[in-house]
Subunit: 173 residues, 3 copies
């Protein structure tokens, strides 16, 4: 594997070299780091929403300290989802919501047993497992290394908007 | 990023501080750790099953040593899946199985070419990619940091129950 | 958690032991490492394709240096996907493509607003979120620790084949 010099680190090599002297700021920067934070996203109406700016704002300062690593986003809910998709045209988010509503039956004719929490609840659970509640994104040179057209979506599957918690875990060097 | 003091670690800082003296148990606890284990889940009948207690029992002792990190669960099969969803009402699991069977054709009228391993095999492969075979869950203060209503589901997509292997990898401080 | 001696490491223990002497090659091997590389997959026609050999060839040399860890694959696109599924019978890949085309409407009768980039574009975005654009796979003893029948698939959802970028991040000991 050809790897950029930026993102390869075998930590003890630098420790070894430093033993007789003081650590420099530079060598410190290559050490493994962990950071974890719970973000509260504001309530969004049912549908797919681009939340890259909101997420980035919360973590960009810490991200800047990582030359190479992984960012993990974990939504602590079972009736919404996180996915990565197109970041430009809002029609793509609307069409995706249209698809989800077409594919998952809802209302009186739906075959669900779990109906106590509302007609939109069981469909929301299914959509949550279809798209998933977690994302792992590479960090490169202090930034989320997504493609040009990729963005982070929060998909709210319930009718009633509520705040949603995301546990962000950063790990890298 | 505002991070709790619990979960931020820049490892070499503590190493540096310890050089002149013996390491204490406390400082050791902040060092990067890796653990990996293969768990065999017992055979489950076709459908969705809550396996949080079984998984937790296998890893809780090791988990307790991590203040902050990530737990990765990897199902080594292509006809079952792992997902995170509601942990309370068994109807939610039943309804999800109902949905999967509605959306993926099965039996003589299904359009599959791959039929040698049984009518339930090709649908099982599709369902496995729909929900996925892996989960990554944040670890916080020695526990899986899922939401109140979240649980780990094993979804068995084959008719004949078989034991399923899950490779668990823990990484953190 | 019973863990194999191979894959458990509490890094500072070895550092501590080494302080008075030189590090040996053996002890170095247990240190946390990160590597990251962007791979360009060649253009594939619309459908599901087994890319395990191509991915493995690109990373196998680096992989061999990890006794225990995680490999993260991140596709930087929103109209293709990565999934893990059956690695033997090409019919399984064909049938999965058949399923995706059945479930996501395409063409003049489809309900999409986002049509400027072609009739296959909006369906491609939806399929990308259904299967996802990222995989995390355990590394054990220098190899991707997948099940016997598991393989990495690139699913190309556009009609026109284009090269696809995958950011691979390796982390472990």
């Amino acid at each position: 594997m050809q790897v950029s010099s930026l993102c390869v680190a075998k930590f003890p090599l630098s420790v070894k070299a430093q033993l007789p002297t003081l650590k420099t700021q530079e060598s410190m920067a290559t050490a493994p780091k962990w950071a974890q934070k719970t973000i509260a996203l504001p309530p969004y109406k049912r549908g797919c929403h681009l939340v890259t700016p909101k997420i980035a704002k919360e973590i960009e300062q810490d991200l800047s300290g990582f030359k190479c690593g992984l960012a993990h986003l974990f939504l602590q809910h079972t009736s919404a989802s996180l996915t990565i998709n197109e970041n430009y045209d809002t029609d793509v988010r609307d069409d995706t919501e249209t698809f989800l509503n077409r594919i998952v039956p809802e209302g009186p004719s739906a075959p669900w047993k779990h109906t106590l929490e509302g007609h939109d609840d069981m469909p929301a659970h299914i959509k949550s497992s279809m798209f998933g509640c977690a994302l792992t994104i590479p960090i490169t040179d202090g930034k989320l290394n997504m493609g040009t057209w990729q963005g982070i979506w929060l998909c709210e599957h319930r009718d009633h908007p509520t705040s949603r918690r995301v546990v962000v875990t950063l790990n890298g060097i």
